[in-house]
Symmetry: D4
Subunit: 207 residues, 8 copies
C-alpha cells in the first residue's frame, strides 16, 4: 500500500514458524521486510529458513533488504540519555535507515551532564526531526525540545528501577513536557519513533 | 527565537495580572501572542487591559494577532471522535491557524459509526498531517492511522466517565496504537498537537 | 446443575493430582469436562492418568468429550486483532464448541488494516453474537460494535508491551467503548467469553 | 440503521443547544429518542424547546417516545446491591423498556443480607438476562452469576468511598468474577447494560 | 514479651544462614518458633542444621514446637474460596494452631456455588472468629460477613490472572465490604490473619 | 438479627426522604438506630421528621438511642495521629459506645512526637482492643501494634495532600504493617472499625 | 525541643478555633510560630484573634515572628520551573527565612528555556543547598542536580493537567533523577523542603 | 568535576564489556571508581579484566579505591527496619565511606520493636545526617525523623510482598512523613542516599 516503505512484522508473540511464513509471503512482493522484537532464538530459526535476512542483536531486528544502496535523505538525529537506552535507539535508527533516511546518532547525552548535550547543539539545531530516547526520569526530551524548533519524537524506555515503574516515569515526564513540538510513543517503541521520523522527514520531498 | 511563530503563554495557574504583564512584554516584540487555558473570568480582565486581543470561549484561547491576513498553507486535518471533544480540537486548529496553517475540520467521526469516517476518506488521505482528538476509548487514532500514511498526532481527551479515568483510557489506547505513524501528546493538549502539526507541515517549505 | 453444559475446572494454581481427582469425580456424572489454563507439563501428567482426555496446546485446554458428534448451532463469530491473540481466541472458540455451538473464526482483522475487517462485513452482520479478542489498544471491539447490532463480548489480551500494562490498556479501551452492545470480560479470559457466547446463542432455542 | 430501536444521544459534555438540535434532527425520522446523563438544568432547557419529551430525574434521562403502548417482551431482571445504586439501575431499566422489554426490578438485595436475595431466587432463575448493579465491593454479580445460568451483565457503580476509588473496586470485582456467564460494562453505565440486555433478550424472536 | 506465643521470623529475603542463626538464638528461650515464607531450598538447609524443626511445604512454614500436646481452644474457622487459596489458608490455620487454637477448615466454598457455603452455615455461625481467604474477586468475605456476627478477618490472595492485578482486586473488594465486622490484612498474608485470629479468640480467657 | 446491636444505615447517597423512611421502619422494632455519613443538611431534614434522634456534627452521625443508660464494658482505646483525624475517630468511638462499649480516647499521639504516645503506654497496654486512626503516612498503627499484644484495628484516613492520594498512602502502610495483630478497614471507615472493636470486645462475655 | 526553630502547625483539616488555640499555647513559650496551608477565610478568623500574626496569601502561611531582625545565614537558593509553582516556592522560601536563612529566588527558569537557567549558573554553583520546585514534567531537578554538587531538594508540584496526575508525573521524574545529590519531598510540600534546607544549611555552624 | 569524589557508573543495563571500558577510561584520571547494581556474573568478568577492583556481593558494588587510608569524617548513621533491607543499606554505607565518611550502622531496628530503636537514641541524636532504609510499611523514617533534628534521607525498599507493590507502599509512607526534615530517594536507591549523605555531611568543612 505505501510503496517504497518496508513491510513490518511485529515479532513478539508469534512463533518462528508464523514469522517465516509471513515474511515469505511479504517477500514475494516487497524488497524490504522488517521484523521487530525478535529474540535470538527466533532469529536463528528464521535465518536458517530465510538466509537472505540479517539479524541485528542489539535492537533485536530481522531485516530483509534487497536494495541496500539507495541514497539516504539527511535530517534525522537519534539521541539517548544513557548507554542502556541504546537498544531502543538502534531500533529507531535502523527502522529509519530502512526507509532511506540518514541518521546521526548522539548517544549518552543525558541531562545530568548538560555539557555533553550542549556540545552537540549545532547538530541538534540543524536536524529536521529528532528522536529522543530516555529512561529513568526522561528529562532529555524536554531539554532537547527547548533547544530546537524541529519536531521531537520522545521514546520513554523501561531503563531504571524502583519508581521508574517499568517506564511509566519517563512516559509521564515526556507527555507533560513543557517544551513545544514534543510528542510521545509507547515505552520502548523505538520502531514506532523511527518510522514516524521517516514519515516526517519525507514530507517536502517531491512526491 | 523561532521567528514567524506566535509567542505562547500557559494561562492556567497564573493570575490575570501576571498574564497581562507577560502579554504586554511579549507584544512589544511580536505581532502574535497566544494564551492557552484561559477561563472566561480571566479573559474578561485581560481584554479590558489589552483590548487588541480576542477571546475564543470554546477552546478558551486568548489571541493577539496583528497580521491576520497572511496566506495559509494547506495540509492539516483535525478530526474528533465526538462533539464533546470539540473544545480540544478547536484549541489545536486555532493554534495551527495562528501559525499560518489551513485546517480542515472533521468533527464527530468516531469509530462507532464508521461510515461517517469513511465518507471523508479522500480528505484524510490527502492530508500531510492529521490531528486526531478523541476521548472515551480513543480508538479513532488507530483507525485513522491505519487509513493514511501521513503522520498522526493523537490527542486523548478527558471526555467520558467511569473507567475513562479522566483521559487515561484514551491515552493508553493511543500509545498502544498498532497503526504506524501515530504519536501522542498529553490529555486535552490541543495546543501541543496543533503546534506540532504546524511545525511538521512547514517542513519542506523553502526555509 | 446446568445440563448439557460441560463441567469446568480452573487449572491454574492446582496441582496435577488435584486436577486428576476433580476430573475423575466430575466424569462420573458428566460426559463433558473442560480444564482451562493447563500448562503442557500438567497436561502430560493428567493425560497419563485419564487418556480419554485431549490436550489443545494453543489454548492450553484439557477436554473430555464423550459426545463429540452432536449437532452445532450456528451464530457465533470469534475475531482477533492480531496473530498473538489467537491462543485466547481459541480458548473462547473451543469452549463454545464444547457447548454445541458452531464458531466462525476471523483472525488477524485488526483496525490498523480496516480493509481486512470490512472484507468480512457480511459474516459479522449475520452473527448472533460476536467475541472480539484484542490486545495492545483493543480498538477492534468498538469498531466491530459499531458495525453490527449483535451483542459483542470483548476480551482484552495482555498482548503488547510498555504502556499496554499487561492488558490494562485494552481493558480500559473496551470498557469505554462508545459503541452500544459491547460488554467485557477479564484480560485473557477467552473461556469466559466463549461460555457467555454459548449461553447467549442458546437463547431463543426451544428449551 | 437498527430499526425498532431508539436513537441514543450522550448528553454529558454537550450544550443544551447541541442536544436540542440533535434531538430535532433524529426526531424527524424516529419515534423514539433517548438522551442520557442529562443534568436537571439541561433538561429544563430542552423540555422548553421540545415539550414532547419527558425527563426522568433519578436516572437523568430525557426520553421521546411516540409509541409508548407497544407490547413488552418479558425476560429481564435488574437487581441492585443497595439503594444508592438505583439511579444507575433505573437508567438500565428504562433503556430496556424503551426497547420494548419488560423489566422486573429487584432493588437493595446486596450480599450482606443474603436472605433478601435468596427470597427472590425463583424470579432470578426464570430470567433470560440479568443486569446486576452494585458499588462498593460489587460482590452481587458473582453471587447472582452463581445462582443462575442466564447471562449476567454487571454494572459497577461509583457508590462508596475511600478504597472504592470511584468504582474501580466494584469494576475489578466484577471482571474477576469466578461465576460463569458474567460480563461487565463501564462504571455507572446503566444505559449500556440496559441496551445490551435488550439486544440479548430479543435474540430468539422471530426476526 | 508475649509469653505463650511463638516467636516469629519472616523468612523471605533472608539467607538460610541468617535464619539458622536467628532461630538458634530464639530457641534458647522459647519452645515455639515459626518461620514464614520459606522456600523448599531454604528449608532443606535449615533442617540439616536444626533437625528439631518441621517443614510444611504447602504453607511454606518452618516450625519448632517443643510442646505439641497442649490443649487447643475451639472457635476459629478458616474458609477459602477455591483450591488455589489453600496454601495461604494453611499458613493461617497452622499459625493459629501453634497458638493453641483449634481450627475448623472449610475449603473451596466460594460464592459461585453458594449451596456449598450455605451447607456449612451452622459451623460458620458457631465460630468466634472467622478467617476468609479468597482471590479473584474476593466476594466470599462479604458473603460470610453477612451471615455471621463474629469478627471476620479477610485475606485477599494473588490467585487469579489479568485484572486481578496480583491480588489488588480481592484486596479492594474486601476493604469495601458492605458487611459489618470485616477487616483485612495484606495480600497472601495468611500468617497475619491466623495470628490475629489467635489473639482475638484468646480474649475472654481467664488471663 | 443480631440482638442488642444497633441497626445501621449508610446515609451517603440516599435522599433524606429515604433515610426517614428506613429509620422509621427500623425504629419500630429496635431501640437503637445509627445513620452514618450524614451531611448537616440531611440531618436537619431528618431531625424535623424524627426529633427523637440526635445529630453529631463532627463524626456526621445520626443516632437514635432509647436505652442510653446501659452499663458500658471497658476495653477499647481509640487513638489518632493528628487533630484532623478526629472526625473519623469519633465515628469509631461513638459507634462502639452505642454498642455499650466504654472508649478511652487518645487523640493527636502521632509518631512524629513519640514521647506523647509513650506517655500513654500503660493505657495502651491495658486495652483489649485498639482502634488506630491515622492519615498521611499512617505509621501509628505499626508503632502501636509493636507496643501491645491486643488486636489493633487500623483506619487509614484521607487526611493529608499530594502523594497521600486520598488515603492510599496510609492504607498501604497499614496493610504492610510488620507488627503482628494489625488488620485494616476502608479509608475513613471509622464506623467499621468501631463496630468491629465492639464485636471483639464482647467476645468472652457470658453470652 | 529544637530551640531556635519555629513551632509549626499544619493548618489544613483544622478548624480556625483549633488553630487559634494551638497557636496561643505555642506562643506562650516560643517567639516564632508558623501555620501552613491556611485558607484566606481561616486566616481572617485567626488574625482577628491573634493580630500579632501576619498572613501571606501566596504561600498561604500564617506567621508569628517576634524576633524578625536576627541575622540571616546565606546559602539557600529556591528555583522554580514556572510561574505557577511560585506559591509552593514561597512556602519553602519563607519557611527557611523564618529559620534565619537567607534565600535567593530564581523563579521561572524551567528547562524548556535553558538559557534562562544557565544565565544563573554562578548563583546555583555557589549555593550550599538548593530547593527546586517544578510541576508538569519536573525535569528541572535533574538539570540543576547535574550542574551543581550541592544537595538538591526537589519539590514536585501539582501544576499541570492531564497526565500530570496531580503531581505524580513530576514526583516520579524527581525520584528517578539520574543526577546525584537529589532527594524529594511530597507533592506541593514547600514547607518540608524549606525546613530541610534550613536544617542542612545550618550544618557546619558552630553549634 | 567534583574533585575528591568517586566517579560513579550505573552498572545495570550495561554489558560487562561496556563497564570495563568505562572504568578503564575513568581510572586514568581518578583514584576512586564505583560501579553500582553489579550482578555476580558481571563482577567476575570485570574483575578478570581489572583485578585492582573489589566486588562487594551484598550491596552488589564494584569498587576501585587507590587511596583507602584517608581519614574519615564522622556524622552519618545508616539504619534499617529489617534484615532484608541490609543490601540497600550497605550500598548507602559503602558509597558514603568511599567519600571519606565514617558510617555507624544500626540494622534491624524497625518500629514493630520500638525498644530496639530507642536503645540507640543517643547515637541517633548525635548524628549529623541519617539514612533510614525500610521496606514493607516504611514507618521507620517518620519515627526517626520525630526523634532527631538532623536531616533524614529515607530509602524505601522493595522488601515485602502483596500490597507493598514492589516498594510503592514504603515510598508513599516516606513521602507523607509528618516528621520534619525527611526527604526521599528512589526505591532501593541506597547509592543515592549514601552519596547525598556524604554531600550533606561535608557541608561545614573548611572548603
Ligand atoms: N516494535 C513494534 N512496536 C509497535 N508496533 C509495531 C512494532 N513492530 C511492528 N509494529 C506494528 O505492527 C504491525 C504488524 O503487526 P503484525 O501484523 O502483528 O506483525 C506493523 O505494521 C507495525 O505497525
Ligand atoms: N480460565 C478461566 N477464567 C475464569 N474463570 C474460569 C476459568 N476456568 C474456569 N473458570 C471458572 O472457575 C470455575 C471452576 O473453578 P475451580 O473450582 O477452582 O476449578 C468454573 O466453574 C468456571 O466458572
Ligand atoms: N505543609 C505541611 N506539609 C507537611 N507537613 C507539615 C506541613 N505543615 C506542618 N507540617 C508538619 O506538621 C506538624 C504539625 O502538625 P499538627 O500537629 O497537626 O499541626 C509540624 O511539626 C510539621 O512537621
Ligand atoms: N544505583 C544507582 N541508582 C541511581 N543512580 C545511579 C546509581 N548508580 C549510579 N547512578 C548515577 O548514574 C550516573 C552514571 O550513569 P552511567 O553513565 O549510565 O553509568 C552516576 O553519575 C550516578 O549519578
Ligand atoms: Mg522545541
Ligand atoms: Mg498510518
Ligand atoms: Mg453495536
Ligand atoms: Mg451463572
Ligand atoms: Mg457480620
Ligand atoms: Mg502487636
Ligand atoms: Mg548534583
Ligand atoms: Mg526531625
Amino acid at each position: 500500500i505505501r510503496c517504497g516503505f518496508p513491510e513490518v512484522v511485529f515479532g513478539q508473540g508469534k512463533t518462528p514458524e508464523q514469522v517465516v511464513q509471513i515474511v515469505r509471503r511479504l517477500a514475494e512482493r516487497n524488497d524490504r521486510v522488517l521484523v521487530t522484537r525478535v529474540a535470538a532464538e527466533m532469529a536463528q530459526v528464521v535465518l536458517e529458513q530465510i538466509p537472505e535476512m540479517a539479524y541485528h542483536a542489539v535492537p533485536r531486528l530481522l531485516i530483509l533488504n534487497r536494495s541496500p544502496d539507495t541514497p539516504k535523505r539527511p535530517g534525522i538525529v537519534v539521541a539517548t540519555g544513557g548507554t542502556a537506552d541504546i537498544p531502543v535507539a538502534e531500533e529507531a535508527a535502523m527502522t529509519a535507515e530502512l526507509m532511506d533516511q540518514q541518521v546521526v546518532r548522539l548517544y549518552d547525552v543525558g541531562v545530568a551532564g548538560l555539557h555533553r548535550l550542549l556540545g552537540h547543539l549545532e547538530v541538534l539545531q540543524r536536524a529536521r526531526v529528532i528522536v529522543v530516547v530516555a529512561g529513568m526520569e526522561g528529562a532529555l526530551a524536554s531539554v532537547v525540545g527547548g533547544l530546537v524548533s524541529a519536531p521531537v519524537i520522545a521514546v520513554p524506555t523501561s531503563v531504571g528501577y524502583g519508581a521508574n515503574f517499568q517506564g511509566l516515569s519517563a512516559l509521564l515526564t515526556m507527555l507533560n513536557s513543557c517544551a513545544t513540538g514534543v510528542s510521545v510513543v509507547n515505552i520502548d517503541n523505538g520502531f514506532g519513533a523511527g518510522y514516524l521520523a521517516g514519515l516526517i522527514n519525507r514530507l517536502g520531498d517531491p512526491a
